[in-house]
């Protein structure tokens, strides 16, 4: 897809964790077309993987046979990635961007899950979550500094 504001690509996978790699590789390829640094490309890949996995694990409860859609919109100054599912919405309380504390002396704070969304909030320039009917979407934007 191309419009007067940039180019867009729509990707669709079935809700299996093994398929997330397909999206990750496509994102890396697209990022390679931009002025994003190698570190930024790795971080964008990480954020997209986290959100796609989130859809598979939480929206669909690891159930195969559901659609996860990723739309990448590439403009000269920004890369916008929208990941959508048609499953269970994310609870409001989990959308907050609070960072998770780490205390080497307190094993109770050594959480082995729940770091995905905080990572995404810390690395992308903007993150929004929206519901449109039964469609749930995370919209993430990374500015491209030329």
């Amino acid at each position: 897809m191309t419009d007067d504001q940039g180019q867009a690509l729509r990707l669709e996978i079935d809700s299996e964790l093994a398929n997330t790699t397909l999206i990750a590789m496509a994102i890396r390829g697209l990022c390679a077309m931009t002025a994003l640094s190698p570190v930024e490309v790795n971080r964008v890949e990480l954020c997209v993987v986290e959100i796609v996995n989130n859809a598979i694990e939480h929206a669909y409860g690891h159930e195969k046979g559901h659609k996860v859609e990723t739309v990448v919109h590439l403009e000269p100054a920004a890369l916008t990635v929208t990941v959508s599912d048609w499953g269970k919405p994310v609870a409001e309380s989990k959308l907050e961007s609070a960072s998770l504390p780490v205390d080497p002396d307190d094993p109770a704070l050594w959480l082995s899950s729940g770091r995905g969304l905080p990572i995404v909030h810390s690395l992308m320039d903007s993150v929004h979550y929206q519901r449109d009917g039964d469609k749930n979407s995370f919209i993430m934007c990374k500015y491209i500094k030329g």
Partner: protein
């Protein structure tokens, strides 16, 4: 997916034939690591040299393994590639783990 454990200078060195430690394999890796600990390994080095990409699930597996050891013995990470090291720094998990540039340095350290 393939994980391997060898004994080296008193350590169990675990490596994997995978470039991505992500949600697709993190649970299998967790089970493998827990089996190593349950089998008596209390000094473990995880060789991350082949891993180009790690997500929060992979990170969670390493944290779960550290907790599983319960403060006994040693769990060290070795040879992380830049994107993996970046994840540790971003999440402050570098405070929890001993991270060495090579397996040899992890064993000697």
């Amino acid at each position: 997916m393939a994980f391997e454990a060898i004994n080296k200078a008193g350590y169990t060195v675990v490596s994997m034939d995978e470039t991505r430690l992500d949600a697709a394999i993190s649970e299998s890796f967790r089970i493998y690591l827990f089996d190593q600990i349950d089998s008596g390994s209390d000094r473990v080095v995880i060789d991350l040299g082949s891993v180009r990409f790690m997500d929060s699930s992979g990170l969670g597996t390493l944290v779960a393994t550290l907790k599983k050891m319960g403060g006994q013995g040693a769990l060290k990470l070795a040879a992380p590639q830049p994107a993996v090291l970046d994840l540790f720094n971003l999440t402050s998990m570098d405070k929890l783990f001993t991270i060495s540039p090579t397996v040899a340095e992890a064993i000697e350290g």
